[in-house]
Point group: C2
Chain length 404, copies 2
């Protein structure tokens, strides 16, 4: 960050203690970001562990997905279905700042751990809950995963080619957008606590979080528009040209001209300067009327070149453009590496695991070293001594009883 | 929120002043959320206004898109390319808490308004910048809009049917996820300021913000997986069945069985209880091996029913399911209305505009009344009196000079 950092700045969340009951993607992304800001994040897992540990493989072995989302946290195994486990959690709440969970609609209440119970132990505690749907409305008790929310929030109907069925975004945008909304809600509650001295219950629903991303298609619908609900890679309002993904010699490249200046720059790059001012092509509204012809002209040019050459050329002359990268290309992308968004962390035995950097860049909050993802309960003993002052005998008893 | 709200709670951001230079979607979503928390958001527009006002229509008329993202803000017109306009902004900075902008890579510096300049006027100011790419790396100076970021971050390669070309998510997920990340970064900086007394420069890049949503496909790639990069509406690892979008008599419905219990519940709903334990179908790994057959069985059942009937039935018996809603259906969805995520605001002349509620639900931060979206500079005079104490003559002079 080229900013005037206060010298000797400390991480923004240093000293905060987060009890992380969350699993899969929504909550763990939220708490990973908090750990990157210096919070002490304690990942509390049931005896079987976060399902993300085995989410993708039929073989039941732990996958890279867990490390991507859970580095920088410490691990505590705790069976909350046992009374002694619940009591340990409540004792931890007494010294903590935030509890994060994304269980199903009624799980926390069934465990006897709703906000009132936590607040009785610690009025400064912030309970943060991620859900599929909100607390009101006809769907409030329905099970919801990312695919469901994408379907009901209108993402599917707006994604794909008009001649094909609706299709989901290939990445779990409902989970992820809810995760960062939850982190924002916690951050606001921490700020508010500096004034009130009190914690509170904050909540986000995936369904609510995804809806505002529909603003453009919704606006078109509210304006009485008549274009198809999905337009492939074209502008959702079919009102901008060129705006598409074009074939190249080794795949595809996205190019768009939002302004006439972009179009003029593109014509120059294509060696077709004469097109820039030609009647029928000079303005966006003219080009949008002959979208197929414009796309054909651009395609004929792009098809003969590799995508990286075009990316550099168009980037340099001021045309918005970017290659469609494969997963293998994303992993090796020098931009991703330069920003530190994919990092390797050394784990015991010299093995290295890949994890994410944080998209939150704060000039006054220096980066913290990232520790490897915990095993299930890999820090249980240390945490129970450090946070609750338990003796070795007490810890052994809890372990024998299957509580930790 | 069924929480123990502190009686007489005030909105979390009441008293904060946000100078909002942002445009289109990224910044305006961030500042709309802050306005819903009680911040005084002043939308500062150039003489021509935020391009979102005319973004979608060839006719150049203002669209519903602007109101969706800009209610709850006040409007100040300011020409920052004029020295007097820049000086007015700096005077406002002296009494403000946050400045938000999502200009191109070098615009703020060219205007002479980078963080150091602002901090000289007010060391408590937080400058929040949204960008396409981060400050490091080979793409840092390239123009980037949502489509570019989706392409280069791997969203296109993972979206669509395997037999078709890559396709974008139909909603601008790069813009929107960056907008909420920026809001989270501001919230952290406001918290940190309560300790340090100092502001800072915070920044997010759309590219960085979108990458963590790739965790599942990236993990599959890191684990050495061999499934196709895009799998339509099936599980991205082809490891869960049923997991798809199925035809119904009036469209499509998404159904998945993440656990064997979900599968048993689904078999019961289909009137095919005998399938639940049949060898070859009883466990997810067996079902994933005969995915086509499982999908055929589910499709034959769904095809005879309307989607709302199946949604209610499956929701009630505990199977994750949701209908693929059209835009018209989303607008009328009782769940959306019950949660207040689409609201109508009365504007002058009895006209009503549609806007979003906030997905951030804070038990101790009561909702604030939502005012209509501002016109370009519709509050200029009032704001210059209220914030800077200008006289009517001074305001008229600035107006005549085209500064406001």
């Amino acid at each position: 960050m080229k900013t005037a950092d206060p010298p000797g700045g400390r991480p923004a969340y240093e000293g905060l203690i987060v009890l992380d009951l969350s699993q899969l993607l929504l909550g763990p992304y939220c708490t990973m970001l908090m750990s990157r800001l210096g919070a002490d994040v304690i990942k509390i897992e049931p005896p079987g562990g976060d399902p993300l540990r085995m989410y993708r493989t039929a073989s039941g072995s732990e996958t890279a997905a867990f490390a991507l989302m859970n580095t920088g946290k410490r691990g505590l195994r705790l069976d909350l279905k046992k009374e002694a486990g619940k009591e340990l959690l409540l004792k931890l709440v007494e010294g903590a700042d935030v509890v994060v969970e994304n269980f199903g609609p009624h799980t926390l209440g069934r465990l006897g751990l709703d906000y009132r119970v936590l607040a009785e132990r610690n009025s400064r505690i912030i309970l943060a809950s991620g859900r599929g749907y909100g607390l009101e409305g006809p769907y409030r008790d329905y099970l919801a995963m990312d695919l469901m929310i994408q379907a009901v929030a209108g993402v599917l109907t707006t994604t794909g080619f008009p001649e094909n069925p609706p299709v989901k975004a290939g990445v779990p945008i409902a989970d992820m957008t809810a995760g960062i909304h939850l982190m924002a809600a916690i951050a606001v509650a921490l700020y508010q606590r500096t004034h009130t001295g009190c914690g509170q219950h904050v909540m986000v629903a995936m369904h609510d979080c995804l809806l505002p991303s529909l603003s453009s298609p919704l606006a078109a619908w509210l304006d009485g528009g008549t274009q198809p609900e999905r337009t492939g890679n074209r502008h959702s309002g079919l009102a901008v040209a060129p705006y598409n993904v074009y074939p190249v010699s080794d795949g595809w490249i996205a190019i768009l001209a939002l302004t006439d200046r972009h179009w003029q720059n593109l014509c120059g790059a294509m060696g077709r300067a004469e097109l820039a001012d030609r009647p029928g092509f000079a303005t966006n509204s003219e080009r949008a009327e002959r979208m197929d012809e414009v796309d054909r002209i651009v395609s004929e040019w792009t098809a003969g070149h590799p995508k990286q050459d075009l990316f550099e050329l168009l980037g340099t002359v001021g045309v918005p453009a970017a290659p469609v990268l494969s997963l293998a290309e994303v992993v090796k992308d020098p931009q991703v590496r330069a920003q530190g968004m994919l990092q390797e962390v050394e784990v015991s035995g010299g093995r290295r695991e890949v994890t994410f950097g944080s998209p939150l860049r704060l000039g006054a909050s220096p980066p913290v070293p990232v520790s490897p993802a915990p095993g299930i309960g890999s820090d249980s003993k240390q945490l129970l001594v450090e946070k609750l002052g338990l003796s070795a005998a007490e810890i052994e008893e809890l372990s024998d009883a299957g509580v930790i």
